[in-house]
């Protein structure tokens, strides 16, 4: 689009300060997970006097992306950037996948009671387990849950309902 646009690399580049600052922005729906851990942040760097940030949406219908860009703008203005010095680009390619969630991100999802997405490439035998009692005897209730990224499940052992982060 223009000369300051970042490459599509799924790697966060740039000086560690801006990368850490923007990367620590929490997801509005899952506030214990950061946008760096979710893989939503594709790049953050300083270009002259400007802060250039690139993000990618998770599910097309996820309204969190608007809240995330607002939060990025807020932390950058707090760090001293003027609104006109902040550039936030949305990129669609390569498409976000649940494989972009970091291992810390997966662990935090599980701790919060959300069964993390499976990684068939890393763990072909991996099955969804109940995040409360760790039983593998679980069944789906609906592939669509409270947010676009989650499915509704129920555990046959402890009978508790729980959310599962859907593979995308």
């Amino acid at each position: 689009m223009d000369a300051t646009r970042l490459s599509g690399d799924a790697v966060v580049t740039g000086p560690p300060i801006i990368k850490d600052l923007v990367g620590a922005v929490p997801d509005p729906e899952l506030p214990w997970v950061t946008i760096a851990e979710l893989g939503v942040l594709r790049g953050a760097r300083i270009s002259g006097e400007r802060a250039v940030v690139e993000v990618t949406p998770t599910w097309s219908g996820c309204p969190a992306i608007d809240a995330i860009t607002d939060s990025i703008r807020a932390v950058l203005t707090e760090a001293g950037f003027g609104l006109e010095q902040i550039e936030i680009h949305t990129t669609y390619s390569p498409a976000w996948t649940t494989d972009d969630i970091t291992h810390d991100g997966l662990r935090k999802l599980a701790q919060a009671g959300i069964a993390p997405p499976r990684r068939p490439a890393e763990d072909p035998q991996g099955a969804t387990r109940c995040p409360l009692c760790d039983s593998s005897g679980v069944r789906p209730v609906s592939e669509f849950g409270a947010t676009p990224c989650k499915a509704l499940m129920v555990c046959n052992a402890c009978l508790e309902p729980f959310d599962r982060f859907k593979e995308l």
């Binding site: 599910w59 097309s60 390619s93 609906s142 669509f144 849950g145 676009p148």
Partner: protein, 265 residues
């Protein structure tokens, strides 16, 4: 010599940009109109899980419409935003398929409409992943993964409804008979489609038909539903000629922005 060929290339590129604008806008309209239709089920679905599922699917379609409208606005180069394109165009300027503007009817009618469309979207986005246009290919890369969830959802419902009670079977068969005439339009290939496919930017809809037919016939057969013999086909949506239902829907969708342009809340 160099400058002449550069001018030719730039004309060519300009023509493709305008064609791509219309192409992207038509697909944006499909998603926007169906998202609006599906939203009509919120708080009225047969059960809570289904209510959430339909709202989620509507949201995915709306998100996809937003990405496509935003991109269409950039291609057009007249500074129209996604909201301008959604709220300030009239019925004749919408180029969505007639299928997606059909009223919800009963639950079976909505699910048959959704299934016919989901099967088409799955084929379409799979092909568009290979588009030479990076933005369209990127959107397709997201859309295909979501479309597969949607297709599994509506396909499962067709089996349940088709093989359920006598009443659910009868209503689903009736919906199929009412909607089948709108399916041929999905595969009509226009001059725009041909040119964009030739340039590696788009796909020829006709090429998607055999795979789509095999997929839907398999589910209909398993669900015990008969594909109507009626070969009568309705079309016109892609040229802006719609059924009476679209105008009424747009009136409801757009009235607030028309009455208070640019309002936000």
């Amino acid at each position: 010599m160099t400058s002449r060929s550069e001018t030719a290339t730039s004309c060519h590129r300009e023509e493709h940009r305008q064609l791509l604008f219309r192409y992207v806008l038509a697909h944006a309209d499909d998603n926007l109109i169906l998202a609006q239709r599906l939203s009509g089920w919120i708080s009225r679905a047969p059960d809570l899980e289904e209510d959430i599922a339909m709202a989620n699917i509507a949201l995915d379609l709306l998100g996809r419409a937003r990405m496509l409208l935003d991109y269409a606005g950039q291609l057009e180069g007249r500074d129209r935003s996604e909201d301008d394109l959604a709220m300030f165009r009239s019925e004749r300027e919408f180029t969505n398929l007639l299928l997606v503007e059909q009223p919800n009817g009963d639950f079976a009618h909505t699910m048959v409409r959704q299934f016919l469309y989901d099967a088409y979207q799955t084929a379409l986005w799979k092909s568009l992943c290979g588009s030479a246009d990076a933005t369209l290919a990127g959107i397709a890369g997201k859309a295909i993964k979501e479309a597969r969830y949607h297709l599994r959802h509506s396909g499962t419902w067709l089996l349940r409804l088709g093989r359920g009670t006598e009443e659910s079977h009868r209503r689903t068969q009736r919906a199929l008979e009412g909607l089948w005439r709108f399916t041929a339009e999905m595969f009509e290939t226009s001059e725009t489609d041909r040119k964009l496919a030739g340039a590696g930017l788009g796909v020829e809809p006709a090429g998607l038909q055999p795979g789509w037919e095999r997929g839907v016939e398999k589910v209909f057969c398993e669900a015990g539903l008969q594909i109507p013999n009626d070969r009568f086909a309705r079309s016109g949506g892609r040229s802006g000629f719609h059924t009476e239902h679209l105008g009424l829907m747009l009136a409801e969708m757009q009235w607030m922005q028309r009455a208070y342009p640019g309002m936000q809340w």
